[in-house]
């Protein structure tokens, strides 16, 4: 979706301010939102939380802090999937019964789950459409759904710098259309190709893109 979350190349957001000795969390509620988001086994496809954040109205997305976005997206997904009701979220009082038969993450399982992670590479045969050094063009596609193809590279010419291997395709997965595993490449775009002749001639941006995002150039 051409949302405001896709902000590469936008201007006028002000200077980057690095907070000295920044704490991991800035408030107790941030800790709890982070942990709930991590712990819950939701009835939604992997990555749906991120797409839900992208669906926030643009002005709200920009006004909200990071964990505020997490809180809103988690709440929305829980209601949409029928796991809790909006009234429950408003009152804090559970009216539905204890959800039986669902796998709930236990404290002893947390560290092993983090150590295992959620690998996105897939050991399935998939023919690489492109190879190192090959010139490619990022396709000019404007999906209304979740996409990992940022606007600032669409239609631009780049070079395959590295083949990362075969991965699940988030653009497909988030829409419930399956993993559709395919090659992911690091594609090098010259700064001048992206931003014109005022950009530094030696600089470049490397973007990770899937086979479906690319066409021969």
């Amino acid at each position: 979706m051409n949302g405001v979350h896709d902000m590469g190349g936008l201007q006028n957001f002000g200077p980057v301010r690095i907070e000295k000795n920044e704490p991991v969390f800035h408030a107790e509620w941030e800790r709890r939102v982070f942990a709930m988001y991590e712990a819950i086994d939701g009835d939604w496809p992997s990555g749906a939380g991120r797409y839900q954040r992208e669906l926030m109205p643009p002005a709200e997305y920009l006004r909200a802090s990071y964990y505020e976005r997490w809180l809103r997206s988690l709440s929305e997904l829980l209601v949409k999937s029928g796991m809790v009701t909006r009234t429950e979220l408003e009152t804090g009082i559970a009216t539905g019964g204890n959800t039986m038969g669902r796998k709930v993450l236990r404290a002893a399982e947390v560290r092993p789950a983090i150590a295992a992670g959620y690998p996105a590479a897939r050991n399935v045969p998939a023919v690489a459409k492109f190879h190192g050094g090959e010139h490619v063009r990022a396709r000019n596609i404007n999906s209304a759904g979740h996409t990992r193809l940022p606007r600032y590279v669409r239609g631009k010419r780049g070079t395959i710098a590295r083949d990362h291997g075969v991965f699940i395709f988030n653009d497909s997965l988030v829409q419930g259309l399956g993993e559709k595993p395919q090659h992911v490449y690091s594609v090098r775009f010259a700064a001048r190709e992206l931003w014109g002749s005022d950009a530094s001639p030696s600089d470049s941006v490397y973007v990770d893109l899937w086979d479906d995002h690319l066409e021969p150039a």
Binding site: M7, L10, R17, L62, V104, H164
Partner: protein, 237 residues
């Protein structure tokens, strides 16, 4: 949370539908700063979070002890010291450095690192000729297992928007002047691959032990947003 604040929020609620304040973009960059009380959201996230947790616990959808453990791990156990250890090892062990640059995932696994948000890792090396810088323009992707959770500035609109179009300007503001003949490479983490910058070893650090070297390595240097220097303390040792 004071009563006054709640009243203010209640008042804000009525106007929230229409009131979109122009020029307020990038709340994340300053809503934890000096004006921490200034928050333009229609209800209090702390209260909504409490309500959400109560419901999820009562419904048996989350286990409170598991939530506590998740916070404990990411607040106290996983952080930039992990990445610093990887960097120091690469500085003292040339064979390890080569393995790290060839296959980051396997090389960090040797030191016991990997897992969530670092399942697939690529390490890029800063040299006199190349300066690397990592961003996630679409979201907040970041190598958690090596650096912990990302800082606010990394997730801010200011950084995400600008670093791909004006990396040298961003670095200059952060106190890092990149010479014109040094190539700047910005890595936009759009997929499930995470990136770590192997910073340049500070000049004069030759005599330090691996542990001492690790203590010099900062989070921001491993993102590419800072250059490492020897602290006075390190120079003395």
């Amino acid at each position: 949370m004071t009563t006054t604040r709640r009243e203010l929020l209640a008042t804000a609620l009525t106007a929230a539908g229409a009131a979109v304040t122009p020029g307020l973009a990038d709340a994340e960059a300053h809503d934890h700063g000096a004006g921490a009380d200034h928050q333009d959201v229609p209800s209090d996230p702390a209260l909504r979070t409490k309500a959400l947790e109560s419901v999820l616990v009562a419904r048996g959808l989350v286990d409170r002890a598991a939530l506590d453990t998740l916070v404990e791990v990411y607040e106290h156990e996983i952080g930039p010291r992990n990445g610093a250890r990887v960097v120091a090892r690469a500085w003292v062990d040339e064979a390890y450095r080569r393995r790290l640059l060839a296959d980051g995932t396997a090389a960090i696994r040797e030191l016991g690192y990997g897992g969530e948000e670092s399942e697939h890792l690529v390490v890029v090396e800063n040299t006199d000729r190349v300066h690397n810088l990592v961003v996630c323009t679409l979201c907040s992707c970041y190598p958690w297992a090596l650096l912990g959770l990302p800082p606010v500035w990394y997730k801010s609109a200011a950084y995400r928007s600008r670093v791909v179009i004006d990396p040298r300007g961003v670095l200059r503001e952060l106190g890092l002047e990149v010479p014109a003949d040094t190539e700047v490479r910005v890595w936009d983490s759009t997929a499930e691959v995470r990136y770590l910058v192997l910073p340049q070893r500070p000049a004069g650090a030759k005599k330090l032990s691996e542990a001492e070297l690790a203590s010099l390595v900062t989070r921001d240097a491993m993102i590419g947003a800072a250059r490492l220097t020897l602290s006075h303390e390190a120079v003395r040792t």
